[in-house]
């Protein structure tokens, strides 16, 4: 078990170092991507700032509270974006074009091969902006960060990332039955936008939906609310960890059923 894990880790390292080398080679591409993303983010932040010009607080949330949530949302999203971008292609043409065959011909897990197929440097920008915003909002908004809280933040980010990946995995795996599932993946993925703002501003139906059904609330608002003193550790971490693990188990289950389906009908 540990031996397999080590082998996969080593393999991933080999892929990653190649991808990073390629990124270094095309530095201008990377910088342009980073800049574009920064401008988009700037628009989002400006919007929040503009709203807060008019009103001192939003249902008890200050500007820096919102910035903190907004920033947090970008971190797991960016990390997931970096590492699992190829799932979008699985939902796209991989199955129709018979590309999936090759993942079944190597003695390593097909999901690992899909993940290792691509590294998306754009995600680095998302993550960095997220970290900057979180640090800035925390220092301005008077959130004290102890070493313990930093560790907790990292743990929350990890499980929030798992939620992103699991949702993508579940929806991309539908393509094993439908041949393509990119539009449904896109539709649900767009809902992650909801996670950038406090849940309280939404209707109860949406709140329930993005907490339990498509749990994007757990990728930003719910974990962030702990640091803003709005919820207990149990409510935030407990919920995030348990739902992320359920989502991951479901994702892996659907993926492996999908392979069974593929084995019987092909492409």
């Amino acid at each position: 078990m540990t031996k397999t894990f080590k082998r996969y880790l080593k393999l991933y390292g080999m892929f990653l170092s190649q991808y990073l080398k390629a990124v270094m080679h095309s530095r201008t591409d990377f910088l342009i991507g980073f800049l574009a993303f920064f401008l988009i983010q700037f628009g989002g932040i400006a919007f929040i700032a503009l709203v807060f010009r008019q009103i001192p607080d939003l249902m008890g949330w200050s500007f820096y509270d919102l910035l903190f949530i907004y920033g947090f949302a970008n971190i797991p999203r960016g990390i997931d974006h970096m590492f699992t971008d190829y799932l979008w292609l699985l939902a796209g043409n991989v199955i129709v074009q018979g590309e999936f065959d090759r993942y079944l011909l190597r003695p390593i897990h097909p999901l690992f091969q899909i993940i290792a197929q691509r590294f998306q440097p754009d995600g680095i920008g998302e993550m960095i902006i997220g970290i900057l915003l979180v640090v800035y909002a925390a220092s301005k908004g008077g959130i004290e960060f102890t070493a313990g809280k930093i560790i907790l933040l990292i743990v929350m980010v990890i499980f929030s990332t798992i939620i992103y990946t699991s949702i993508k995995l579940i929806l991309a795996s539908i393509a094993f039955w439908t041949k393509r599932s990119q539009s449904i993946l896109f539709m649900f993925y767009s809902m992650s936008e909801f996670s950038k703002y406090p849940l309280a501003i939404y209707h109860k139906f949406i709140r329930t939906f993005i907490t339990y059904i498509v749990p994007f609330a757990l990728t930003a608002y719910i974990p962030a609310s702990y640091f803003l003193g709005e919820s207990s550790l149990m409510e935030s971490l407990g919920l995030t960890v348990s739902i992320s693990l359920i989502a991951l188990a479901l994702g892996l289950f659907i993926f492996s059923r999908g392979i069974k389906q593929y084995e019987s009908v092909g492409n």
Partner: protein, 336 residues
């Protein structure tokens, strides 16, 4: 000796759902779907011994790829079974994958964005190839495929011939017991084809690798295969030595001439005379067809000298262009 590959009663049926026409048709299919069953492979059985090179032949859509997919574990059969080196590939897919190599001529198995050199380093890790054997293999591949020519290039920048050499080397790195090669020479020029054939032969000799290959190229079969298996419409048509095929079809050649003429009847008369003028031109040994100023002559090159046909046609008719072709597999399958 034990069989390396055992195929018994292998059948694969695909279900396909008919889609209705227009909106009303689409709605109808939501409630009642018309199922058509397509039998891609029907009750095929054969055995392959260790070290054999088998040509797996058939027209497009005959069921070759479906069979290979079942032998490599990508597809489950509907009934019957496959055993490769004692394993059922679709039941122990990853374990089976360690002991086989697969090349699809149409698409690469390699990572598009990686340099060729790095690809091999990664495959070494994937198949857990020991250092010493890896070094030996890489040296060997460099001899037969001249890999160092493009080791530093990424896979996407390779020419088709280079890519095929890299793909073949990659499939052989872990010294698999069985190699499945689906159209390994497709689209390649004669020189590269020759090099690839040499490498396949060499690999077979050096390690006793069992090789199953599909091809549309008659020379691949003549030069490589110990035995051929022909399937058509999913069924086994022929399983046996290459001699029968070689005797019956292997020596057939086809010359296609583009002609310029005013009167087809005159041309017809000239062609009639060809039978008398050239030695051995019996109807069994030589046939021709003329349509839309294209003349195709099919003849047995054992019985008739190619130069006598060329001479006759060039002397008597106004030839704009010509080409000499091997008999293609489709024609052979059709005549069975």
């Amino acid at each position: 000796m034990e069989n390396m590959i055992e195929v018994k009663g292998l059948t694969k049926t695909f279900k396909s759902y008919k889609k209705g026409k227009g909106l009303s048709g689409t709605i109808k299919t939501l409630f009642k779907r018309e199922v058509t069953e397509i039998e891609a492979v029907k009750d095929i059985s054969f055995n392959i011994r260790p070290g054999e090179i088998i040509g797996y032949i058939g027209a497009n859509g005959a069921g070759k790829s479906t069979t290979i997919k079942m032998m490599t574990g990508i597809l489950n059969p509907t009934s019957g079974f496959v055993k490769v080196d004692g394993r059922v590939p679709y039941e122990k897919r990853q374990e089976n994958a360690k002991h086989i190599g697969v090349v699809f001529g149409q698409k690469t198995q390699l990572w598009w964005d990686l340099p060729v050199g790095e690809t091999f380093a990664i495959l070494k890790e994937v198949y857990q190839v020991p250092d010493a054997f890896y070094a030996e293999q890489m040296k060997y591949f460099d001899e037969i495929f001249e890999l160092s020519e493009f080791m530093g290039q990424t896979v996407r920048t390779l020419s088709l011939g280079q890519r095929m050499r890299a793909d073949l080397a990659a499939s052989m790195l872990h010294n698999p017991k069985v190699l499945f090669l689906d159209e390994p020479t497709i689209g390649l020029d004669v020189m590269v084809k020759e090099r690839i054939r040499k490498a396949i032969k060499d690999m077979n000799k050096r390690y006793g690798t069992t090789i199953l290959l599909t091809t549309h190229d008659m020379s691949d079969i003549e030069e490589l295969c110990h035995r051929i298996i022909i399937i058509d419409k999913g069924q086994l048509l022929y399983d046996g030595g290459i001699d029968t095929i070689r005797r019956d079809f292997g020596y057939e050649r086809k010359i296609v001439f583009d002609l310029r003429y005013d009167d087809a009847e005159v041309v017809g008369a000239i062609l009639q005379q060809m039978r008398d003028e050239i030695q051995g031109c019996t109807p069994e040994n030589m046939t021709y067809t003329l349509s839309e100023s294209q003349l195709s002559v099919i003849f047995n090159r054992n019985e008739i000298n190619i130069s006598s046909i060329m001479n006759y046609v060039l002397q008597h008719l106004n030839v704009i262009d010509f080409s000499v072709k091997d008999m293609d597999i489709e024609a052979i399958v059709k005549r069975f």
